[in-house]
């Protein structure tokens, strides 16, 4: 099942995710892929620290931008218009109960998308995400509850990259962020690539609403 929530506040989307996680645990729903775009928000994962936010929180508050502590892995990141966020709600089974393998396959979804534009996307060992020419274009932070996944993958399409100058993305001071639009040198919208992302997700995860079973044999990271 695919659910496109369009532009939705992060917290509202989170409530929907948690509700769907509970329903997936009870087998009331099939595996589901949620697509969303958020209004500007910074989120800090369980490994994160607020000092990786390099602007005053009051400055953001005055502009209606929240900083939220959230229950995903990873450090601080930014979500905003022009970024597609993909939230798979899937029950990991059997040999796929491997968090690294799951995240590897999420990376594969972004790699397949970016590869369509002949941009040579890469993984970086020890730095989860997808990179082009040393700049990060897609980020991953996940949660798993009773082996049902939530949170997920965000891909920068045409968002305002200035927001990333307000943080040390993922807690790393040397990270430069980029977007698909910046990389290809022309404006491309979230709407333009949604169908591609769904298709790439279906290919990587062999996702037909039946059982979650990735088609790629993941290579383990060090």
């Amino acid at each position: 099942m695919i659910i496109d929530l369009g532009l939705i506040d992060y917290e509202d989307c989170y409530k929907i995710q948690r509700d769907m996680v509970q329903r997936r645990k009870l087998c009331e729903i099939d595996d589901t892929l949620i697509l969303a775009e958020h209004n500007s928000v910074f989120t800090i994962g369980r490994s994160g620290r607020k000092d990786n936010l390099v602007v005053d929180e009051n400055y953001l508050c005055a502009r209606g931008i929240k900083v939220l502590n959230v229950d995903r892995g990873g450090d601080i990141t930014f979500h905003g218009k022009g970024q597609l966020v993909v939230y798979p709600i899937v029950l990991l089974k059997d040999k796929w109960r491997d968090l690294h393998a799951y995240m590897y396959n999420l990376e594969s979804v972004a790699i397949k998308l970016i590869d369509r534009y002949l941009l040579n996307p890469e993984r970086c060992i020890g730095r989860t995400g997808v990179w082009v020419s040393g700049k990060k274009v897609a980020s991953i932070g996940v949660g798993v509850s009773n082996w049902v996944t939530y949170h997920g993958l965000s891909i920068n399409i045409n968002l305002d990259l200035e927001f990333f100058n307000m943080i040390y993305p993922c807690g790393m001071r040397d990270v430069k962020m980029t977007s698909l639009s910046q990389l290809i040198g022309k404006d491309i919208s979230v709407e333009d690539i949604k169908d591609c992302v769904v298709s790439d997700f279906e290919n990587v995860f062999n996702f037909g609403g039946v059982d979650f079973a990735p088609t790629e044999a993941p290579e383990m990271k060090s």
Binding site: K25, G45, R46, S47, D71, R72, G73, G74, R97, D98, L99, H100, A101, Y102, M103, T128, I140, G141, V142, G143, V144, S145, N146, M220, K221, S222
Partner: protein, 76 residues
Amino acid sequence: MTDVKLPSLAEGVDKATVTYCYKGVGDVVKEGEDLIELVTDKATFNLPSPVTGVIKQLFVCEGDEARVGSIIAKIE
């Protein structure tokens, strides 16, 4: 008495950091309900209770490193 062990989370991962305890000693827990939250790399993992019962012992606190295969809690 049921021992709750930390399962394998990923190939090559032998421990994870406890980031939150949903339950404490003496609490009633239902089968499938989250007991603790752990984090490894870019993922959080909520360890569920395999049974319904009362938590008799909890061997980890927030901030602890839990090893895969170790007993996290005893539930009666």
